[in-house]
């Protein structure tokens, strides 16, 4: 556990440097985002920036809009009928709600890992090459390389390299979730969205995924929604606290957990509600 906390301290120190940097380091800039499910105002005036090669945790009680927000980042939220939005989410400087911005294009850059492991009922190999195949890669050699690289990236290669043709449903829950991460890495995204990726996993599998996140952030920018405040404290560089569809506080994780500005944040992280 201590190894997990240590690098975070360094990250916190280097955060001061980030303050001088310009918008190039921002992967996402959310500007006055509002979102409604029908008449239910689910996100209110969200302003939030996501930084490159960092882990940004989103915490908050159930129904606070944290899942809605992360699903807005790759426009997955549009699968729900009757969703309306106002405001902007800029990904690398472009508004993703722009009509000319193809949603498929966005999602090749922004991968997602879901709450429940959701591998396809196909072989391990087929699961990983799904994304590349979708995007027209047919060369067997390239696909094989992608499979190895992605599974290694998701720390699953050693466990499955001898049974790539086996059905993914034969894997344990934790392995399935890492397979889903590998599947996501296979499209070589820029950002990885994780919607409570460990809530269906046992503690050991959870630890593995957390360790993986620490490694992955060197190459990717990661946004993780979590119910587990210790998890947010362990793995993230910045934390956003959502409550009733609003961002109550957004700051470096250390600051949020040691010295929160807002009374409601303090109440939440000390377990007084939620």
């Amino acid at each position: 556990m201590s190894t997990l906390v240590a690098p975070k301290k360094e990250a916190a120190d280097s955060l001061d440097n980030y303050k001088n940097l310009n918008d190039n380091n921002k992967v996402y800039q959310t500007k006055e985002l509002n979102l409604w499910y029908g008449s239910n105002h689910a996100l209110k005036q969200i302003n939030l920036d996501i930084y490159e090669n960092e882990v940004t945790a989103i915490i908050g009680p159930s129904g606070c809009g944290k899942s809605t927000y992360i699903k807005a980042l790759n426009r997955m939220i549009e699968m729900v009928p009757s969703v309306k939005t106002s405001g902007e989410i800029q990904y690398r400087g472009r508004n993703i709600f722009d009509k000319r911005y193809g949603v498929e294009e966005l999602r090749t850059k922004v991968g997602m890992v879901f709450q429940k492991p959701n591998p396809f009922p196909k072989s391990i190999y087929e699961n990983v090459v799904y994304g590349p195949r979708i995007h027209g890669i047919r060369d067997k050699k390239v696909l094989n390389q992608i499979v190895e690289k992605s599974l290694k990236g998701a720390a699953l290669w050693d466990e499955v390299k001898d049974r790539l043709q086996d059905n993914a449903y034969g894997l344990s829950g934790g392995q399935q979730q890492r397979l889903c991460i590998a599947r996501c890495l296979a499209i070589e995204p820029d950002v990885i969205l994780m919607d409570e990726p460990t809530s269906a996993l046992d503690p050991i599998s959870t630890l593995k995924v957390e360790e993986l996140v620490q490694v992955l952030k060197k190459e990717y920018s990661i946004i993780i929604v979590t119910h587990n405040m210790q998890q947010a404290a362990r793995i993230s560089d910045r934390t956003a606290f959502f409550l009733n569809g609003e961002v109550v506080e957004f700051a470096e994780t250390d600051k949020i957990f040691s010295n929160p500005t807002d009374k409601r944040t303090e109440d939440y992280i000390t377990g007084r509600f939620g």
């Binding site: 790759n74 997955m76 699968m79 009928p81 498929e104 294009e105 966005l106 999602r107 090749t108 991968g111 997602m112 879901f114 429940k116 959701n118 591998p119 396809f120 009922p121 799904y130 994304g131 195949r133 979708i134 995007h135 449903y169 889903c180 599947r183 996501c184 499209i187």
Partner: protein, 292 residues
Amino acid sequence: MKLINHDQVLKKMSPRKWKNSVFKGLFMLATAFALVVLAILLYRIITQGIGYLDWQFLQSLPSRDPEQAGIKTALIGTIWLMGVVAPVTLILGVGTAIYLEEYASKNKFTSLIQINISNLAGVPSIVFGLLGLTVFVRALTLGTSVLAAGLTMSLLVLPIIIVASQEAIRSVPMELREASFGMGANKWQTIVRVVMPAALPGILTGAILALSRAIGETAPLVVLGLPLFLAFLPQSVFDMFTVLPMQIYNWTSRPQEEFHAVAAGGIIVLLVMLIVMNSIAVLIRNKFQKRY
């Protein structure tokens, strides 16, 4: 203070158990009734018809002489009919199901379509016969051809295959679609690569059940005016033909006792065909059934 008196509860225990076994018996009786009727039916048909059932019976044309009468025209006619019904219903039915489940937005219009499809499944088959007579036989002047009958039968079983396919598509977990969309797949890619493979067993099961229904139906074909006696085979979809149930109906309506036995032989052929098809449906379902 205790609110439940356990002595009282124990006293009432035996009438409760008795009631339970009475109802168990009643439900068993209900099941047995259906089974007994089926068994009697099968026994009568098999004892009557088995004598006529041989290779020659399958290969002979119908005849006025019961000893010579065969089922060839009807058997080949049924296969021709399936040749039209299977592709038409699969393409139209699965297409409709995909559109309704994956593409159509849920509004009043689509729910109206949905209600109508479900209602069509309950429309008496003879009504479809009248429709077929008006549209295909007369308006499109297809006559009592394989094509006209095939299209009529397709309309009859379309609701079955649409509803079955819709259920199969709906049972594919949303998470799998999300996974696909999340990697930048579009709707068509998701349907072809994720939804259809997962829904295929359900769709095939529905298709085979629909075809079984089409094989056994007689009423709409009577309305279309299919011949009861035909001594030649169809050469194309525009030719006249007859099918197994029509042939059986013809034989049973003859006065000679021998023909009733021939009819029983025909029924056995029809039943074997249905059992084989239903078994295939079950096999497909078991083989491809996946847990999510």
